[in-house]
């Protein structure tokens, strides 16, 4: 009967023992610009971009249609028209993997990975 608790304690101790220090807030990283081009159904750009938490990110999207760029999670929108790219600038304060898509067309532009 006692073995169950010993086993449980061992498991938790193992987990606790390897706990790193809590992540300290990272200083604002250098600014990062991500450029994406949309031609019809084809998306040209990085599939996945990794930035550090706190980085100032600028998303620039060129498209051959009029549409809206949506940064999920941060819930930011920017309009794009042919010849007038969308520019969305924000500070990546929240960690996670966020999808950036062309709303009307339902096209995934890229995934933004914000790491601590």
């Amino acid at each position: 009967m006692r073995w169950r608790w010993i086993v449980l304690a061992a498991g938790l101790a193992a987990l606790a023992g390897c706990s790193a220090s809590t992540s300290s807030p990272s200083p604002n990283g250098p600014d990062r610009e991500i450029a994406v081009k949309v031609e019809g159904d084809l998306v040209t750009g990085p599939g996945r971009v990794e930035v550090a938490q706190g980085t100032e990110v600028t998303v620039v999207v060129e498209a051959d249609v009029s549409d809206e760029v949506h940064v999920h999670g941060y819930d930011l929108h920017g309009d794009v028209t042919p010849g007038d790219p969308a520019r969305i600038t924000f500070e990546a304060t929240a960690p996670g993997v966020f999808e950036v898509e062309l709303e009307g067309a339902g096209l995934l532009l890229f995934r933004l990975e914000v790491t601590p």
């Binding site: 009967m1 073995w3 169950r4 010993i6 086993v7 449980l8 061992a10 498991g11 193992a14 987990l15 390897c18 706990s19 790193a20 809590t22 992540s23 599939g47 996945r48 938490q53 949506h70 999920h72 999670g73 941060y74 819930d75 304060t93 929240a94 960690p95 996670g96 993997v97 966020f98 999808e99 898509e101 709303e103 339902g106 096209l107 995934l108 990975e113 914000v114 790491t115 601590p116």
Partner: protein, 451 residues
């Protein structure tokens, strides 16, 4: 029938983003390699220690629950007026969700229906049930609707024993398909249609076979929440009093039923598929397909993963049965209760951050459920705080959940094997069971750490 209706609707409607996970668009960062290794190692160490320390007498199998002492809390929890109030509130919420789905803003982000169903209901309620017990018995709007309409008071037909939990399993499959494969599964209108279809299906089942029988066998969410409620230390005894028992204490009394193994396998498989479908390996190949191709690939994928889970579990019980010189099928049935902690652990690991982060959207939409610009509770202007949970905190919860689920499964399987076989044979049967549990744990962890 239900699946076909939803499938037809999703193929027909072109609206909505062609993303597999239309809700939120945010996923957790992959668990770092070192944490994955520690988690897997812990699970392995625990398993070997547990094997070595295999207790000789079953403990969980012969539980004596502590009866709750009568008192204010007991009177409160069993008060019939409170029950009616809770039922009324739950039914009201259900009606608001259905109204929002059909009449509210068609955008997923401005409508309360998707976040209510896929976050508060599908993720929040499992958490609540594993902690507090079977709340769905009171919360189910379908049960309340049936009671109000006097549906299912007396069964019209005898429920065929061979059918068991199969109706619930098929309904569950339909729901997870809509949640995970259908690119517009999160769109309010489709959700509304699915809810109405399911309501009719449920009420029909209740009318034919009796309300309680259908709740036990055919209502997918009642079956699901009842399973999870067995993890909770709180339960009701035969007289309806609240009693206390050890965590996982409700699982050994899970009785075999046709379709029960399938139900749990679908649960485990669907959550595994959800994690897998977020990996780069999947999205890089399937994300570029046209919509119909995505639906086809997703359907094949979820069925394949469910199949793999079924095969892995069957293999383990098959080997264990061979070792113990008994039949395979009873073995599969006798040990399926040990998969429930793993299934819940997967739910915690994959969806806990969704509940805490995207769940905040629900609080915001509470003030403006139909997207009309209202502000009923003053929360309409709330900005969702996605930095509420640090990445590290999320990782620890995910790995701890998977390892804890593993430990729970091992304990249950050990106890059952000793109760069934006597310690010498029990030990030998446990090698195969442990192997499959370590497999589920390692696969679960690796999916979390796959980018």
């Amino acid at each position: 029938m239900l699946v076909a209706a939803v499938a037809a609707l999703s193929l027909a409607s072109g609206a909505g983003p062609a993303l597999a996970h239309g809700l939120g668009g945010r996923t957790d960062l992959p668990v770092p390699r070192w944490l994955f290794v520690y988690g897997a190692a812990t699970a392995l160490v625990v398993s070997f220690v547990a094997l070595a320390a295999l207790w000789k007498e079953p403990h969980l199998e012969r539980l004596r629950s502590r009866a709750g002492r009568p008192g204010l809390l007991q009177r409160l929890l069993t008060d019939p007026t409170l029950e009616k109030v809770v039922r009324g509130l739950s039914l009201f919420a259900f009606l608001v969700v259905v109204t929002a789905a059909f009449g509210g803003d068609p955008r997923t982000s401005e409508n309360i229906a998707p976040v209510f169903v896929y976050v508060w209901f599908w993720v929040g309620l499992p958490f609540a049930h594993a902690i507090l017990g079977n709340l769905w018995a009171t919360l189910s709007p379908w049960d309340t609707l049936a009671r109000l309409a006097y549906v299912g008071e007396q069964p019209r037909f005898q429920y065929p024993r061979a059918l068991g939990r199969w109706p619930a399993t098929l309904a569950l499959l339909g729901f997870v398909w809509m949640e995970l494969v259908d690119p517009s599964g999160a769109a309010p209108l489709g959700l509304g249609v699915a809810i109405v279809v399911y309501t009719l299906f449920t009420l029909a089942g209740m009318a034919m076979f009796g309300r309680d029988t259908w709740n036990r066998n055919g209502e997918a969410f009642a079956v699901y929440f009842e399973l999870l409620a067995r993890i909770s230390p709180l339960a009701r005894d035969g007289e309806g009093r609240v009693i206390v028992r050890p965590v996982l204490g409700g699982l050994p009394s899970l009785r075999p039923q046709p379709g029960l193994v399938a139900f749990i396998v679908v649960l485990l498989g669907s959550t595994t598929f959800d994690g897998f479908s977020r990996s780069t390996a999947w999205t890089s190949r399937v994300g570029t397909l046209p919509r119909a191709g995505q639906i086809l690939a997703g359907t094949a994928g979820i069925l394949a993963i469910i199949g793999l889970v079924a095969v892995a579990y069957s293999l383990a019980t098959g080997i264990a049965a061979a070792v113990a010189d008994t039949d395979w099928h009873p073995m599969t049935v006798r040990f399926v209760h040990s998969l429930v902690p793993i299934a819940f652990a997967y739910v915690v690991a994959h969806y806990f951050s969704l509940l805490v982060l995207e769940g905040q959207t629900g609080l915001k939409l509470l003030s403006d459920p139909f997207g009309r610009g209202w502000d009923v509770f003053g929360t309409a202007g709330w900005a969702v705080n996605l930095a509420l949970l640090s990445a590290t905190a999320i990782w620890y919860v995910q790995v701890a959940a998977i390892v804890a689920g593993h430990i729970g499964a091992v304990v249950l399987a050990h106890d059952r094997s000793v109760a069934t076989f006597g310690s010498a044979i029990a030990l030998r049967t446990q090698y195969a069971m442990l192997a499959v549990m370590v497999l589920f744990t390692v696969v679960g962890l690796s999916i979390l750490s796959g980018g």
